[in-house]
Amino acid sequence: MINIEHICKKFPNIVALDDVSLHIYPNEIICLIGPSGSGKSTLLRSINGLEIGDSGTITVNGELVNPNDEQQMCSIRTKMGFVFQHFNLFPHMTVLENMLLGPVEVQKRDREEVKQEALALLERVGLKEKANEYVNKLSGGQKQRVAIVRALCMKPEIMLFDEPTSALDPEMVKEVLDVMRELAKDNITMVIVTHEMNFAREVASRIIFMDEGKIVEENTPEEFFVHPQQQRTKEFLAKVL
């Protein structure tokens, strides 16, 4: 479904991605873990064309991710939801308007129809009564839940999560992870960058461990956490678990 081939990306002081190749299959739930600066967020953002690799290619459903081709990018992005660490909700809009923007402006769907779907989604995440509130009135956990349903409103085939709970107060982490757990049961392809090891172990179908721009190890959660193969993985797990 997503084919990443030999992608490299340098930032001024750091090699973020060093010849990374990865294939993601439909309905997989991939958790990308690793220390800060290991390139996992850059990899995730490259899938959505928010970062441009220096070399290598990424295709999504056979379509080439090429940030210079705006039309192509728009069409690829409508099939992929992206959830940001800092939510990036639109502060000048209500919760509902945030959710309607993509489907109505980009997909040209009927406003009333989308509105019903949006309200149903909000009910699922326990925020139906907030539909007409401005997003600045919400707590961090509520904002992130809105960000998730905003992405879902586009009916994406793939959901990308970039450290969705890292900017949250500890007591709000669970409400966001619970929404993602529910989502994991829906047979949607998910790629999640996270530091929540227990969560990764519970929902992932495959764990990818990255360090210094390279994929160090990949495995099923059980094998990965119980029998890590690489020395670097063992060191990392010893510190975080």
């Binding site: 959505n48 064309g49 928010l50 705006e70 039309q71 990018m73 728009c74 069409s75 992005r77 409508t78 992929m80 939801g81 992206f82 940001f84 800092h86 990036n88 909700l89 639109f90 502060p91 000048h92 923007l101 993509g102 402006e105 980009v106 997909q107 600045n136 905003r150 992405a151 586009m154």
Partner: protein, 230 residues
Amino acid sequence: MEDMIATIQKIFTLENLLFMMEGVKISLLVAVFGLIIGTLLGTLAASMRISRSKVLSGIGRIYVDVIRGTPMLLQLSFFYLGFPMIYQMITGNYLSVDALLIGILAIGINSGAYVCELIRGAINSIDKGQWEAGMSLGLNRTQILKKIILPQSFKRIVPPLANEFIVLIKDSSLISTIGVYDLMKTSNILGSKYYNYFVPMIFAGIVYLMLTLVVSQITSKIEMRMAESD
């Protein structure tokens, strides 16, 4: 002291006051239309500067650099004196220009460069995450600007735009140099008529001060209103 009072009484006749009020009207007219032209040009120049076309953004940049890097008084003289000369050189016909009209135009063109930069500043001050969120929903650049960035920039444009209006009220006095009877010019004329510049100048200063104070009062009211809706 008695001399002073006598002079004041001599200068502030109804006729002279009306004469100066005409000047106030002209000054305000220049500031208002200068701001309108400046806002239109500034918006146009800002959209050129943020466009991905190198040619368009280059033109926008040259406009801003030239206007901001040269004195307004020089620009005013150029449009009033230099421009008709060029016209005559090229076409051979004599061009008579209306000082008020050309003054408003020159001040508008000048203001446009500053407005361009404040619009651009407001757009750039919007968090990069807002662009990315728009992109992740599949919106194109134009849609992101129209639906996400500009509505949020607008709030940040209003206060500096009001400040620009205050600047224009004061700088409109420069058009007195090309013979327009604005507040500055009328007070000058009264000064030379009565051999007393002090009284009319103080009076003009007070009127300018009142105008700018009123505008800044209104602006802070608007700002407070907008802060409430945050």
